[in-house]
Structures are given as structure tokens and as C-alpha cells.
Amino acid sequence: MYLKIDIKKRNNVRVIGEGENTLVLAHGFGCDQRMWDYLVPYFEKDYKIVLFDYVGCGQSDLSAFNKKRYSQLSGYARDVEEICDALELSNAIFIGHSVSSTIGMHLAIERPDLINKLVMVCPSPCFLNLPPDYMGGFEKADLEELINLMDKNYLGWASYFAPLVIGEGHDESFKQSLKNSFCSTDPSYAKPFAKATFFADDRHLLPKLTAPTLIIQSQDDSLVSIEVGRYMHKAIKHSVFNVVEAKGHCLHMTTPEQVACAIGEFLD
């Protein structure tokens, strides 16, 4: 449906760095491509780096948002697919944070020509507790509370009554304030992403993934337990499991050198 130039604009695509191989960096739920600013310096000398915002995030074209498409992770995978095709990429190395690891997995299975290797930073194929076999860490009620918190913080953060005007009623200055925000909780876009992220169960895809995969986890991540990492490592055929000496869920922001080091080893 979109021309190449439109895709680049739609997803606010930036290509930087030099090198024969390409890294595609995919941000997770909540923020935008700026979360990679800490990691990029480690790779821009040796790799071509593709950065982008999913539609509905960062400075993407919000008018391209389609609730149906972006209510499922496969819709976000389509964004990456279209970006890769628009840039005529093949055999790229996909690096995804958190839910983007799963999005990358969708794409690597559907279009193995695009993705050569996969790096998953703090991934989880399913955030839900599904006893007795699997404990993703969260109950449905937790995730419903999250949606509610997003709503309330949107009211608290944005100009107060703007979100009451829905549909095409958003005025230009309001749109601008959204564009400037790094992490937007605008319910129109963030809620479908939150639901797609936290209600997904893509465990069945893990055995279908054949691309060499690096799973990077932290020693203590309040969103993803070590067991989830082990589960993924066991289910993905060609996977390396690396628990780096760091804590938290945003490793690429808090300890970029360790993450860069782990990725460097894997790619060499």
C-alpha cells in the first residue's frame, strides 16, 4: 500500500553508520528509537544501523495507525518487513528490546531472507502466568491495571482535556506535543501496543525460529525472570543465552557497554 519513501517517513527511519552488514534496532513498548542512543556509538563505525519508530510511537506518522493491524505483534512485524523492503535490505541483523525480540522472531520466521541473525535484549515470548507450565510473571489483572495507569498518566501528562476529543478532533498543537514526547501514553496508540505486547503468547513460534539467536538477559529483571530466558534458550534451536552482569530491564540504556560486548562476541 505504501511507497518506499512513505515507509521511511511513516516509521521515521534513520540510517546511520558504515559497514557491509546492517543492524536493525527495534525499540520496545513505551518509548521510541531514542532508547538506542546509548548503544549506537559502539557499532556505528562497523555497521550500517537502521533506526525507526513503530507506527503509533515516537515521531512516526500517526495517521498511518490502523487499530486492527497494530493490535497484534504481527502488525508491528509488518512495519519492520516494509522498512527492510523499502531499504532493500537482506540478511540483516535484528536487535530487538523486550517485545521487539518477539516481533523480530515473527519476521525472521516469515521472511528468513531479511533476517540473518537475531539479538533479543530482555525478551519474553509471553508475559502472562499460564500455570502449571509457564510463569511469565504477570496476571491478566496486572495488565489491566497497566492499561488503566497508562490512561491516567496520559491525562496527567498531556494537556488535560485534549484526550477527551477523540478521532480526528486532535488539533495541530496537540499533535505536535505528542511528537515531542519521548514516551507517549496516548491511549489511542499505546493501548493497542500494550495489549499486543502483554497479552501475547508466542511461545509456539520459538521452535520455528532457525536464525542464530542471542538472548541477553540481566541477573535481575523485574519484568522477565531468568526462567523465561532459559525457557526461550531451550526452545530456540540455534540460541546463545547470555546473562550479563547487570540488573534491570533496559540494559541497552543502563549498561550499554556490556550489551555491546555480548552482541560483539555473538556477531564475531
Binding site: M1, F29, L146, L149, K152, C183, G248, H249, T255
Partner: protein, 296 residues
């Protein structure tokens, strides 16, 4: 300011380590509110916040703090040691690897916000429902004339950037007036509804089906040239014939088809012009004995 003074502020003040999330120190208002002791070295942010708040912290608060050093007026849920959940509003600053939290319980604000959220959801639902109603024909639940024109305008805008063949198919029921006269208007309505569902079943999801007015319908076939349209029209004739009338005759329709050509796309009246051509073709089909398709 003395520690005693800090302890008397009616808000939760505490410091956490950004990486380990360990609570390093805090005022006694916070300790008594949470019913914990900050001297317990094992106390972490994960023990104080609800799970949803932790996701919110990792997805929004932490990235904002790392990028901007401060995060203001963020609502989260505190979980006390006794297990009660309290909505709270926090301002947080990041200084040298430590997070400085100033938090106050905000139950009243939360109630107001809950009301606003519910009001918005209510409005959204109503708007969605109203939008749906303004787009649909009440009898057949197909798109109405205005909705079809609006959707087609969007498609034509897209075609200006990248041409995709689109055919407009104008369908008119043969001898509809006698059906109404002989079997009553209610029966006539039933026939319209039956035809509507036949049309919907025959076409693809990407096609648009609308009641154009009276006993006239329009189908917009997306990504179909005239050959493709011919195939769909034959299927329409087939499907319509299955609708039998009380006098044991079968329903038939006459169809006029017209394609939106690449050179027409820039014309601002392209939709009405294409419909007019389809209408002339339909006229030809009627004059030619009905129950057939003609191309314009």
C-alpha cells in the same frame, strides 16, 4: 534541615538505586505509610510498587529518567506491606545513579481521573457507535451512499500515488416495483436484505459493498480489472438467482460496470463520472433484456 524535619513532611521521600532497585534510605513518613523499615537491606522497589506499576516504571519512567533526569507527576500504585493498594503520584529525579522519589498518596485525584477515563471511554464508545450508524444503511447494514463515496475518495487518493485497478459495479434489481406491488413492501425489504447478504458473500473482504439507493447497489472491486469484474458479476448473477420469489420465479439483477482508468484518477469528479458510465452500461443491460452485465 534536620532528619526530624524531613520525617515530618506528609509525603513519602525515599532513595533507590537505579540498577538494583534497592531502597537505600527514606523518611519515616514513608516507612510508617508502607509499614516497612528502610534499614532492611533487602527492600526493593519491587516490594513497594504494584506489578503494573513496575511495567510502567521499566517502560516509561526509567527511560524518561535516563534521558531527561527527571520524571514528573507520574501516577503509580503503592502496595503496602499489609497488601493494601494505594494510588500515588510521584516526582522522581536521577542523580548519580540514585533515584530520588517524592510521592504522595492520591486517592481523591485517582477517583477524579477514573471518572475522566470512564467518561472518555463512554464517549469513545458512543462516537464509534454513532460513526457506525451514520455509515450504514439501516435496512441492509451495507455501507450507505455517503460512506461509500467517502471510502472511494480515500482509495482514489491512494491511487494517485500508486495506481491499483478498481471497478465500480452498479447493480439494480429487475422488476422490483412489481415485487413490491404484488408481495408487499415488507417482502420487498426482505428481498433487499437477501440481496445484500448475497453480494457480501460473493465479494472479497477488500471490496466495498453499498446500498446506493432504492433497489440499486454498488460494489467497488479493489484490485480488479474488467476481466476480474466479469468473473465477480457472473458470480453475483448466480447468487442472486438462488433468491426465489413467492410466485416461484427467481430474482434477477441487471449490472453495469465501469473501471477507474489510470488517466481518470486525477480528475476530481472521477467517482461520479465512473458511476455515470456504469449507469449507462446498466441502462444498456436493462434495454437488452435484463438479467445481464454490460460494461461501460
Amino acid at each position: 534541615m534536620s532528619q526530624a524535619d524531613v520525617d515530618h513532611f506528609p509525603c513519602l521521600l525515599f532513595v533507590t538505586h537505579i540498577e538494583s532497585t534497592q531502597v537505600l534510605s527514606g523518611n519515616s513518613f514513608a516507612e510508617s505509610f508502607l509499614n516497612v523499615s528502610f534499614s532492611e537491606l533487602s527492600l526493593k522497589l519491587t516490594d513497594i510498587l504494584s506489578k503494573a506499576s513496575l511495567i510502567f516504571y521499566e517502560s516509561y519512567i526509567k527511560p524518561i529518567l535516563l534521558n531527561y533526569g527527571t520524571c514528573k507527576e507520574v501516577q503509580i500504585t503503592i502496595v503496602t506491606k499489609a497488601g493494601s493498594r494505594v494510588p500515588a503520584v510521584a516526582n522522581v529525579s536521577l542523580v548519580a545513579g540514585k533515584l530520588y522519589w517524592a510521592m504522595y498518596p492520591a486517592e481523591e485525584r485517582d477517583k477524579l481521573y477514573q471518572e475522566l477515563v470512564s467518561a472518555r471511554e463512554n464517549l469513545e464508545e458512543k462516537t464509534e457507535e454513532l460513526t457506525r450508524l451514520t455509515r450504514l444503511d439501516p435496512l441492509t447494514s451495507l455501507l450507505n451512499r455517503r460512506a461509500l463515496t467517502s471510502d472511494l475518495t480515500k482509495i482514489v487518493t491512494f491511487m494517485k500515488r500508486k495506481y491499483v485497478p478498481v471497478c465500480l459495479v452498479l447493480i439494480d434489481i429487475d422488476y422490483f416495483k412489481p415485487i413490491n406491488d404484488n408481495f408487499g413492501h415488507e417482502y420487498g425489504d426482505e428481498v433487499l436484505s437477501k440481496l445484500a447478504s448475497s453480494l457480501t458473500n460473493v465479494v472479497r473482504e477488500s471490496d466495498l459493498v453499498a446500498r446506493w439507493g432504492g433497489e440499486e447497489f454498488v460494489v467497488a472491486l479493489y484490485n480488479s480489472d474488467l476481466d476480474g469484474a466479469e468473473y465477480y458479476c457472473s458470480r453475483i448473477h448466480e447468487a442472486v438467482q438462488k433468491i426465489s420469489l413467492p410466485n416461484s420465479e427467481h430474482l434477477t439483477v441487471s449490472i453495469g460496470v465501469s473501471a477507474i482508468e489510470p488517466e481518470d484518477v486525477k480528475d476530481k469528479d472521477v467517482i461520479s463520472k465512473t458511476i455515470n458510465i456504469a449507469d449507462s452500461a446498466l441502462y444498456k443491460a436493462k434495454n437488452n433484456g435484463r438479467n445481464q452485465t454490460q460494461f461501460g
